[in-house]
Homo-oligomer: 361 residues x 2
C-alpha cells in the first residue's frame, strides 16, 4: 500500500527549521527559570521540550503559508518574523492541549510512540506501577499548564499595536473556549452522560479539534497579514469546513487506514471505543448489536478488530462518514470558487484540500 501523503509534504524544509528555532527560542526562558528550581523541575521542562520535538507541524505551517499568501496584499502586515513566532506559539498550544487530552483519555502513547506520560512512567515504573503512573500523569497536567501559560505569555508580549495584539488574543480565547467545550462533550459522550447521536458527535468533532487546528491558524494569519475583515471571515468559514473534513478523515483513517502509514496504534480507536461519527452512525443500524459486542474491549484481538472493520463497512458507516467528509470538502471548494478570498490565498487552501483528497484516497 502506498504511504498516505503527509499533509505538509510540499512545504519547504526551511520552514520546519525556522519553526524549530522559534519554538526553541520561546522555550528558552522557561528552561532557565525551571533549572533554578532543581533537578525535578529541570526534568519537567526537558519533558516539555521533548513533547514539542517532531510532529508534522501542520498547524503552524498552515499559518505561515496563509500569512505568506495574504501579506503582500495586506495594508500593513506584521513582520514575517512575528508570523513565525505566532506559528510556533500555536504548536505550543497544540502540545499543551494534547497533554491534557492524554491525561483525560488515560493514553500512554501518541502516534505509536510514548507520550510524556508513557516516557516518564517507563523510566520509573520498575519502582511502583501505580505511583509511577500517577506521578507521570500529574507531570502531564503541570507541563500542559506551563505550555498553556507560555502560549499566552508569547502572544501578550508580541510587539504589535494594542488593537492587533488584542485581536490575536480574542481569537485564542474563542478557540480555547470552543476546544474545551468540545473536549467536555467528548468526555460526556465517553462517560455516558450524553446520547451519542450523530449530530452531537459531529459538533464535538468540530469543536474539539477543527476550531484550533484550522480556523485559528487561518484567522491568526489574516490578522498578522492585516487582511481586510471580509477575508478573515471568509477564512473562518472555509476553515470550519476544512477542519471538520480533516478530523472526520482522521477518524476514518484511524479505523480503516493502514497503521504502517498513519503511524497510529492499529485499532486503538476500536480498542478504546472512541466516540466518532463512524460509531455514532453504526449505532443507528442493524449491525450495532454485533459491533457493540467487541467495541471498546481493551483486549481486542486482531481477528475481532478485522471483524469490526468489516461490520462498520457493511453497515454503511464508512460510506456515511466519507460522504460527510465530501460534503465539507465541497462546501470549502464552493467558498473558494465564490471569490470571497483574495486570489493569492486560494492556492494555499486549494493545496490543502488537494492533499486532504489524496489522503482520503
Amino acid at each position: 500500500m502506498q504511504a498516505v501523503p503527509d499533509l505538509a509534504e510540499t512545504t519547504a524544509p526551511a520552514l520546519d527549521e525556522s519553526l524549530s528555532a522559534e519554538i526553541a527560542q520561546l522555550m528558552q526562558p522557561g528552561a532557565a527559570r525551571m533549572r533554578t528550581h532543581g533537578p525535578e523541575a529541570a526534568e519537567l521542562w526537558d519533558e516539555a521540550v521533548a513533547a514539542l520535538a517532531g510532529g508534522k507541524r501542520i498547524r503552524p505551517r498552515l499559518l505561515v503559508e496563509t500569512y505568506d499568501a495574504l501579506a503582500p496584499e495586506g495594508a500593513a502586515p506584521a513582520p514575517r518574523a512575528l508570523a513565525l513566532r505566532v506559528a510556533a506559539t500555536l504548536e505550543i498550544l497544540h502540545v499543551a492541549l494534547l497533554l491534557h487530552d492524554d491525561v483525560i483519555d488515560g493514553d500512554l502513547t501518541r502516534r505509536g510512540r510514548d507520550n510524556l506520560i508513557g516516557s516518564l512512567h517507563r523510566r520509573t515504573a520498575a519502582r511502583d506501577d501505580e505511583h509511577s503512573l500517577h506521578r507521570a500523569r500529574s507531570a502531564a497536567i503541570l507541563v500542559g499548564d506551563l505550555l498553556l501559560a507560555l502560549t499566552h505569555q508569547s502572544l501578550a508580549r508580541l510587539p504589535l499595536a494594542t488593537a492587533r495584539r488584542t485581536s490575536l488574543l480574542d481569537l485564542l480565547d474563542d478557540a480555547l473556549c470552543e476546544t474545551v467545550a468540545g473536549e467536555f462533550l467528548d468526555v460526556s459522550l465517553a462517560d455516558g452522560a450524553l446520547d451519542p447521536d450523530v449530530s452531537t458527535v459531529l459538533e464535538m468533532t468540530r469543536s474539539k479539534t477543527a476550531a484550533y487546528s484550522v480556523e485559528l491558524p487561518l484567522r491568526w494569519a489574516a490578522v498578522l497579514a492585516d487582511a481586510d475583515p471580509a477575508t478573515g471571515w471568509a477564512l473562518a468559514r472555509v476553515g470550519r469546513h476544512v477542519g471538520l473534513a480533516y478530523q472526520l478523515q482522521d477518524d476514518a483513517l484511524s479505523v480503516f487506514g493502514d497503521a504502517a502509514c498513519h503511524g497510529k496504534d492499529p485499532f486503538s480507536d476500536l480498542r478504546e471505543g472512541k466516540e466518532t461519527a463512524i460509531i455514532a452512525y453504526a449505532r443507528t443500524t442493524g449491525a450495532w448489536e454485533g459491533i457493540r459486542r467487541h467495541l471498546g474491549a481493551p483486549d481486542l484481538t486482531e481477528e475481532q478488530a478485522l471483524t469490526l472493520q468489516r461490520l462498520l463497512v457493511d453497515c454503511g458507516a464508512r460510506r456515511h462518514v466519507e460522504a460527510l467528509t465530501a460534503i465539507e470538502m465541497r462546501a470549502a471548494r464552493a467558498l473558494l470558487a465564490d471569490g470571497a478570498l483574495p486570489v493569492r490565498a486560494r492556492p494555499v487552501l486549494d493545496r490543502l484540500l488537494d492533499r486532504l483528497e489524496d489522503r482520503a484516497a
Copy 2:
C-alpha cells in the same frame, strides 16, 4: 476553644464586594462564549463561577492593601481600579491552581465542602460511579485550563505601558514556574520518587504555595504602585519568609488545630498521609515506627488520629515546625525593622504578621 482569627478579618467588607464585582466582570466574556457552545459548556462555566465564589480572598486583599500603602509614594502609580483587576486575576489564578491540585490529589472536597469535582460527581454519581468521577475530574482539568488562560488574558489586556505590563507578566511567569516546580516536588514525594527529608519538604512547601500566595501579590502591588525597585526586592524577601511561615502554620493547624475553626476535614492530612515538614521531622525520630503504622490510612479512626497527634507532639515534630515558623516570622520582622520598606508599607506587613501570630496561638 476560641475561633482562629481569619487572616483577613480587619479588611473592610467594601473591598470584598469590589473584588467580587471585578471577578464577575472578568468572568463575563467567558460566560457569553461558553453559552454559545451549548448546555454542557455552559454548565462547565457555571462550575467555574461557583469555584470562584466564597473563599477568604487573602491573596487579593493582601495585594490591594499593599498597593494602597505604596501608591501614595509611587512615582506614577497605576489607577486603583487596575490594582483591583489584578487582585481579582490573582484569585482566578489561585482557583485554577487549586482545581488542578485537586485532580492530582484525588480530592473531592476543599475546606470541608464539595469542590468542583465533588459537586459534579454528586450530581451524576447515581448513574455510574467510575464514569461520573472521570467526567468530574476531566471537567476540573478543563475549567482549570480556562481559568489559567483567563489569568493571562486579563494581564495581557491591562491598559498599562508595555514595560509595566511586561513586569507583571514576568512575575506571573516566575511564580507559576515555581508553583509547578513545588507541585511536582510534592507529587514526587507523595509517589515515593524522592526522599522526604526536611529540607526537600521545606523547599516544596515554599515553592508550591508561598511563591504565588504571598510573594506574587506583594510584588505585583509594588509594580502597580510604581514603587522603586528596592522596595520590590524587599517585599519579595519579606514575602518569602511570610509565605513559608503561613504555609507551615497551615500544615500545623490542619493536624493539631480545631476542625470547627479551620473548617477543614478533621484529620484529612493524616488520613491522606500528606508530606509536610511535621511528618518529615517525625520520620527522623524514634516515634516513626509507631506513626507510620497509621499515617495515610484511608479508614483512620478518630482514636487512631488522636494517637497520631499525640505521637507527633511527643516526638517533637510539632515543636520543631513551630520553631521553624517562628524563625521565618522573626526573619520577616527583622527585614521590616531594617527599614528596607517604605514607612507606609510596614504596617500592612506588620498586621499580616500579627494576624499570623494570633492564628498560631
